[in-house]
């Protein structure tokens, strides 16, 4: 039954391996993408992975709790929220590791003060989208496959592998309408370019996320007893 030997140590080892692999391939072997591209790439990959892994996991959170919800009348919002909190704590460690790696090469600046705010906004966005997919998937089971596909698609249009200024000016505004792309860009602004992030954009993302969260949360509360029937086999 033991799933792995190092358990929580993997929370540190995983990102260390990721950073090392990217460093070796892009900096030492390929020497591609110009100076410091490796850092843009790492910020992109790490910020993305928090989003992608949490929303994917949350989409099946109620399906995984099928047995439990057949037996007790429990608040169904619990299940996506557990996924969101567990993966966010894990991601906080990863972000700290990334920060150390960046500080080592770029140094640190007052702009880093915005980092907790960025983390909070991203948390709100992830929580609201996670609870949305968790609430929807039991109604339309095929949706979790569609969500997995959409997340993969979203990864390619969120600027994980390229920066916003490599996009032509006419399309950049549209590109930054994507909240994930926008957040990744803001992380790069704060951590690498040492500038103040786009506070308007961040506030809009935060406000919309909170509204979405409240709406879905209300829906799940009202339809709490529909879920055992939907997931019953």
């Amino acid at each position: 039954m033991q799933r792995n030997y190092l358990s929580y140590v993997w929370w540190f080892l995983e990102p260390v391996f990721l950073i090392t692999a990217f460093y070796l391939v892009f900096e030492v072997m390929l020497r591609r993408g110009g100076d410091g591209f490796i850092y843009d790439l790492l910020v992109g990959v790490i910020v993305w992975s928090w989003f992608g892994s949490t929303v994917t996991q949350a989409s099946t959170s109620i399906l995984r709790a099928t047995n439990l919800i057949q037996l007790i009348d429990v608040d169904k919002r619990l299940f996506p929220l557990v996924d969101v909190f567990v993966l966010s704590i894990k991601q906080l460690f990863v972000l700290i590791l990334l920060s150390l790696f960046v500080v080592f090469s770029h140094g640190i600046d007052w702009s880093w003060m915005w980092l907790p705010y960025l983390f909070l906004v991203q948390f709100l966005l992830i929580a609201s989208l996670s609870i949305l997919v968790a609430a929807a998937v039991p109604f339309i089971p095929d949706l979790h496959i569609i969500i997995a596909l959409m997340i993969r698609f979203l990864m390619f249009c969120s600027g994980v592998f390229f920066t916003a200024d490599s996009i032509s000016a006419e399309h950049r505004e549209l590109f930054l309408m994507n909240p994930v792309a926008n957040l990744i860009e803001q992380y790069r602004v704060v951590m690498l370019r040492m500038e103040t992030p786009d506070l308007t954009a961040l506030s809009i993302i935060a406000a919309l996320s909170i509204l979405l969260f409240i709406g879905v949360s209300q829906f799940m509360h009202q339809h709490s007893k529909a879920y055992p029937r939907l997931t019953m086999q």
Binding site: M1, Q2, R3, L68, L71, I72, K225, P228, R229
Partner: protein
């Protein structure tokens, strides 16, 4: 028993249907319970009998508040009902103590109450020092004992039991059956779903016989059970 007092919970013309599948024009339903009436008075031990698929488990789900009925009314009168469940929400990686808290809280117990009862729960389980080990190292019997010890600590107004009178080894089975019997004989209110007419005869003061989602007969235990057995035998002969 206690017919003078008001019921803890009462079901009036309750119906449940499950959606089987949906065609383009309309959904197809499977009717599970139809116009079921049931009054549960304090101190009742009601046995629910019937064949597989008669709707017994659905009735327990309704009472536990897991699902709402599609028709009729459930008057809960602020009383709580909970299904006796074993190993609810166990996390294999965590130790026995933590699982007592986790599982107990899922069942609706407050953390402080569980901390208070912790020593009793551990003693009843008979697990001793093993309680500090991760549950994944437990044998199936040990897990069942821990699960049962937690489940016994919950104290809803109405306890719902779905045929779990045999868990763990022989000694533990006797111990747990004795406790359950004591609970049912005292002024605890219990609903017991069972195939075993012998158990029902021993433990229940009233019986509800469900067939095809409808109440076929309800009332005094021996009368209902006798008719039930008669009907079953007839069917086997045909």
């Amino acid at each position: 028993m206690n017919q003078g007092s008001s019921p803890l919970m009462s079901l009036q013309k309750v119906s449940v249907r499950y959606k089987k599948y949906r065609t383009l024009k309309r959904a197809q339903y499977h009717q599970v319970l139809t116009d079921l009436d049931l009054d549960i008075y304090p101190g009742d031990s009601i046995g629910v009998i019937g064949r597989n698929g008669a709707g017994k488990s659905t009735l327990l789900r309704l009472l536990a508040g897991v699902i709402d009925p599609d028709g009729g009314v459930i008057d809960r009168n602020q009383s709580t009902a909970a299904l006796l469940t074993l190993q609810l929400g166990f996390d294999q990686q965590l130790d026995g103590r933590t699982n007592i808290l986790l599982s107990g809280m899922l069942m609706g117990c407050r953390r402080e109450v569980l901390e208070e009862k912790m020593a009793d729960i551990i003693e009843f389980s008979g697990l001793g020092d093993a309680i500090r080990e991760p549950v994944k190292h437990y044998s199936a019997g040990m897990k069942a004992r821990l699960g049962f010890s937690i489940a016994l600590m919950i104290d809803p107004d109405i306890l719902l039991i779905d045929e779990v009178l045999g868990v763990g080894d022989e000694t533990f089975r006797e111990k747990s059956a004795a406790i359950l019997k004591a609970k049912m004989a005292s002024d605890h209110t219990v609903i017991l779903v069972s195939h075993n007419t012998h158990t029902v005869r021993n433990l229940c003061n009233k019986v509800l016989w469900i067939e095809d989602g409808k109440a076929r007969m309800a009332g005094e235990t021996h009368q209902v059970v006798d008719h039930y057995i008669e009907s079953m035998t007839k069917q086997e002969l045909n």
